[in-house]
Symmetry: C2
C-alpha cells in the first residue's frame, strides 16, 4: 500500500490562485487609494476615451480586453452617471460613438494620480528591477 492514491493540491503552487490573490490585493489598494466612485474597469474606459474619443463598444472591448457584454453594462452605468456619452454613429446605425463628457474627463484627470499610486502601492514590496521583471513575465503569459 502506498499513499499516492489521494491527489493533493497545493494552493501556493497554483498560478491561478496566486493571480486571483494578486487581483484581490489590487482591488483592496484601489478602494483605499482611489475609492469607490470609480472601479478600475470604469477608469480604464475613461482613460481610453480620453486618449481616443469616438470609439465604438466593440473596438473598445477589444483594446481593453473586456467582454462585449460586460463592457455594455459598464458603459450603461457610466452613461447613466453622466461620465460618457453614447451617440449612434451617423455612418453606421449599429454603432455607438462613445465620448467623454466634461464630467467624465475631469473624473479621469482627478483620479489619475491615485490610480498611479495604486500601481506603486501594489508593487511596493518589490525593487525596481523586480517590478520590471514581474510586468514583463506577466506580459509574456498574457500574449500566449
Amino acid at each position: 500500500m502506498d499513499q499516492l492514491s489521494a491527489p493533493r493540491f497545493d494552493l501556493l503552487t497554483a498560478p491561478g490562485h496566486l493571480i486571483r490573490r494578486a487581483q484581490q490585493q489590487h482591488q483592496a489598494r484601489w478602494i483605499e487609494l482611489v475609492g469607490t466612485e470609480l472601479t478600475s474597469v470604469q477608469f480604464a474606459v475613461l482613460a481610453k476615451l480620453a486618449a481616443e474619443s469616438g470609439s465604438d463598444q466593440n473596438s473598445l472591448a477589444g483594446t481593453l480586453s473586456i467582454d462585449t457584454s460586460t463592457l455594455a453594462e459598464v458603459c450603461v452605468r457610466l452613461a447613466s452617471r453622466g461620465l460618457i456619452e453614447r451617440k449612434r454613429s451617423p455612418d453606421d446605425a449599429r454603432r455607438y460613438r462613445l465620448s467623454l463628457t466634461p464630467a467624465g474627463r475631469s473624473a479621469f484627470e482627478w483620479h489619475t494620480p491615485a490610480v498611479d499610486a495604486v500601481g506603486e502601492a501594489l508593487l511596493a514590496p518589490l525593487s525596481a528591477r523586480e517590478r520590471y521583471t514581474l510586468m514583463a513575465l506577466l506580459r509574456r503569459v498574457i500574449e500566449a
Copy 2:
C-alpha cells in the same frame, strides 16, 4: 504652452490591467482543459476539503482567501449538486461542518490532472526559472 495638461494612461504599464488579463488567460485555459463542470474556485474548495474534512465556512474562506459571502454561495451550489455536505456542528449550532461526498471526492480526483495542466499551459511561455520567479514575485506582492 505644453502638452502635459492631459494625463495619459498606458494600460501596458498598469499592474492591475496585466493581472486582470492574466486571470482571463487562466480562465480560458481552465475552460479548455478542465471544462465548465467545475470552476477554479469550486475546485479549490473541493481540494481543501479533500485534504482536511470538517472545516467550517469561515475558516475555509480564510485559508482560500474567499469572501465569506461568496464562499456561502459557492458552498450552496456545491451542496445542491451533491458534491459537498453541510451539517450543523453539534458543538456549535452556528457552524456548518463541510465535507466531501463520494461524488465530490471523485470529481476532485478526476479533474486534478487537468487542473495541473492548466498551470502548465498558463506558464508554458516561460522557462522553469522564470516560472519560479513569477510565482515568487506574486507571492511577495500578495503577502503585503
